[in-house]
């Protein structure tokens, strides 16, 4: 690519990349910056920084105290973390089983388990709602956790399996000679081995869960079990006049994903580029 650089010039390339950077960041910055401003400043000078008289934390105050927002936040956190835990654990277990052991039906079960990548679980919503109601799980976080676990498993199993197939079998054999049971081999050898792709799987599984609107809307729209995404959506409808609060709510809703991403971005990219995610 050296020639491209020569022709376009390093400056040109950076100009293109910087424009997209601006395009990607500007809307976000606009929300976060204005969430710290007074109502007057939000409208009077939307592009200004929250300094001096313009600075106000009223929006955050009212979101955190006068709304159910902290509860929505907690709901989302519970749903996301528990689902993620199950996806990672059960996904790694299943991937280990299909990549390590020869048994009848191995090919069938490995294809069956990753079918869900191509067939979105949302298509079963009608029957899923009936099932959840029959189980008495309507308007519970458990319903969301179960559905999200089912939804996240195929891609997790796919990534883990691809990765584990590329790892030498010999290390597991070595552990067998050392006398470890198959369960301890999984927990003490395989889990540390898959660590490099755990971040990739975690981020890929977490984003759709945290951000999902469909299932919270259908399976648990109740006040008590609302997730932050659904909460923000309804909140926007109710409080469009309280701009400061809305902007603060948005900023808070962005936060966990942002933190996750910053922590894992290096590992995430490495996971993606190491070939764990192939076509």
């Amino acid at each position: 690519m050296r020639r491209i650089q020569d022709r376009l010039g390093s400056v040109g390339i950076h100009a293109i990349l910087l424009s997209w950077t601006l395009l990607a960041l500007f809307p976000l910055a606009l929300i976060v910056v204005n969430s710290f401003k007074t109502r007057k400043a939000i409208f009077g000078d939307p592009l200004g920084l929250p300094t001096g008289k313009a600075l106000s934390l009223k929006g955050y105050e009212s979101v955190m105290t006068n709304s159910d927002f902290p509860m929505f936040f907690g709901n989302s956190l519970i749903v996301t973390c528990v689902s993620l835990f199950f996806i990672l654990l059960f996904g790694a277990m299943a991937a280990h089983a299909v990549s390590e052991y020869r048994f009848k039906g191995n090919t069938f079960i490995s294809i069956y388990l990753i079918l869900g990548i191509m067939v979105p679980i949302r298509l079963g919503t009608v029957a899923l709602l009936n099932l959840i109601v029959d189980m008495g799980l309507a308007n519970t976080l458990t319903a969301l956790i179960l559905v999200y676990t089912a939804q996240g498993l195929p891609i997790a199993i796919f990534i883990f399996t691809e990765f584990l197939r590329s790892v030498s079998r010999e290390i597991k054999d070595s552990a067998r000679i050392d006398g470890l049971s198959e369960y301890r081999i999984f927990f003490e050898v395989v889990i540390p081995l898959v660590r490099p792709v755990i971040a990739t799987v975690a981020v890929f599984s977490m984003i759709p869960i945290w951000n999902d609107l469909w299932f919270p809307l259908i399976l648990s729209p109740g006040e008590e079990t609302r997730t932050v995404t659904l909460g923000v959506q309804q909140f926007i409808g109710q409080y469009t006049v309280q701009w400061g609060s809305v902007l603060a709510a948005l900023s808070v809703a962005i936060l966990p994903v942002l933190i996750m991403y910053v922590i894992f971005s290096r590992q995430l990219i490495r996971g993606i580029t190491s070939g764990a995610v192939k076509g």
């Binding site: 290390i171 054999d173 070595s174 067998r176 000679i177 050392d178 006398g179 470890l180 540390p192 660590r195």
Partner: protein, 348 residues
């Protein structure tokens, strides 16, 4: 005392038989090398001895005890793998001590054994490094160390040097030989490299397609290979095989007598090792030089014989040929091998 005995061991993968009726006894302290081309079943057999593969039939005895239904850890074996199989999240000390810790061996005993192994293999300065911070040779040393600390009755090596570069491979080969002389354990060593087999083994087992072709000391295999396959596999460069004729107990090549044989009259195969040939004005092999490779101390002549067959001779470095030169080679009659039409060697 740790002997190893295989009795009628067989292995099927589905309908394919990969190990045929294997019988072998390994004496205490013996280093036996399994050698053969890839896919010949040698690694599978080793994994069956280790307990990583089940037997379809037959028995395995280690030290007089039947072990084939025991899990690997109860067999008194340790294994060194081609890819080293170190735990990437543990440092060298952790890797060395892992199996003992799992066996609930006392801490002081673990330290003692780990330190002995580290001394033997020169790992003392690397004890707190992670595997990824080690070179290939160092990793292999750790892998061997991990086997040593288990103080096994039998060491199993599965192509342990195949991932190393050529120079390091020679070095580690010598290290393993020294280790064997020092520990005097029974060892089974699997390789596809006949040079490794020749240099390391007390006895070699040559495999092909799940069957034993021949068992013997390196020199036995070299001097009296049972058949064409073994003859061609052992020795470098490989033995020349020439189509010859047998008449009245004489083996004739282009109507010139090469040696005598008990083979009945008719076509036969003559086996000649390149290193046994020498320039001889009266010799039976006459042809023109195709390629001449000079390695300094020695030289290889690729010869085109009158009937179109080709052969290679290893000569000492004093000789000089150019392509197209005519060349005549001879051989001592007792160095010739004659094979019948089934590829079996005919006793001379």
């Amino acid at each position: 005392m740790a002997t190893l005995e295989l009795k009628g061991v067989e292995k099927f993968f589905g309908a394919t038989q990969v190990i045929h009726d294997m019988n072998l006894s390994v004496a205490d302290g013996e280093l036996v090398v399994f050698v053969g081309p890839s896919g010949c079943g040698k690694s599978t057999l080793l994994r069956m001895i280790a307990g990583l593969e089940t037997l379809s039939s037959g028995e395995i005895h280690i030290d007089g005890q039947r072990v084939d239904y025991q899990p690997p850890s109860n067999r008194g074996i340790a294994m060194v793998f081609q890819s080293y199989a170190l735990y990437p999240h543990k440092d060298v000390r952790g890797n060395l001590g892992f199996s003992l810790k799992h066996d609930k061996v006392e801490k002081s005993e673990i330290d003692r054994r780990v330190n002995i192994a580290a001394d033997i293999l020169g790992l003392q300065d690397l004890m707190s490094r992670k595997p990824r911070e080690l070179s290939g040779g160092q990793r292999q040393r750790v892998a061997i160390g991990r086997a040593i600390v288990r103080e096994p009755k039998v060491f199993l090596f599965d192509e342990p040097l195949s991932n190393l570069d050529a120079a390091l491979r020679v070095h580690m080969r010598v290290e393993i030989l020294k280790l064997h002389q020092r520990l005097k354990n029974t060892m089974i060593y699997v390789t596809h490299d006949q040079v490794e087999a020749m240099t390391l083994a007390d006895r070699i087992v040559v495999f092909r397609a799940g069957k034993v072709e021949q068992i013997g000391t390196p020199l036995e295999l070299y001097r009296t290979p049972a058949n064409r396959f073994v003859a061609g596999f052992i020795g470098s460069p490989a033995m020349n095989f020439l189509n010859a004729d047998c008449k009245d107990g004489k083996v004739l090549l282009n109507d010139r007598e090469v040696c005598r044989s008990t083979h009945p009259d008719g076509p036969t195969t003559l086996g000649v090792r390149p290193e046994h040939l020498q320039v001889d004005k009266q010799g039976p092999f006459q042809g023109s030089v195709q390629v001449f490779e000079h390695l300094g101390g020695e030289a290889f002549v690729h010869l085109n014989l009158a009937d179109g067959q080709t052969m290679v001779a290893k000569l000492d470095g004093e000789h000089q040929f150019r392509p197209g030169d005519s060349c005549q080679l001879g051989i001592a009659a007792d160095k010739c091998h004659v094979f019948d039409n089934d590829g079996l060697r005919v006793a001379s």
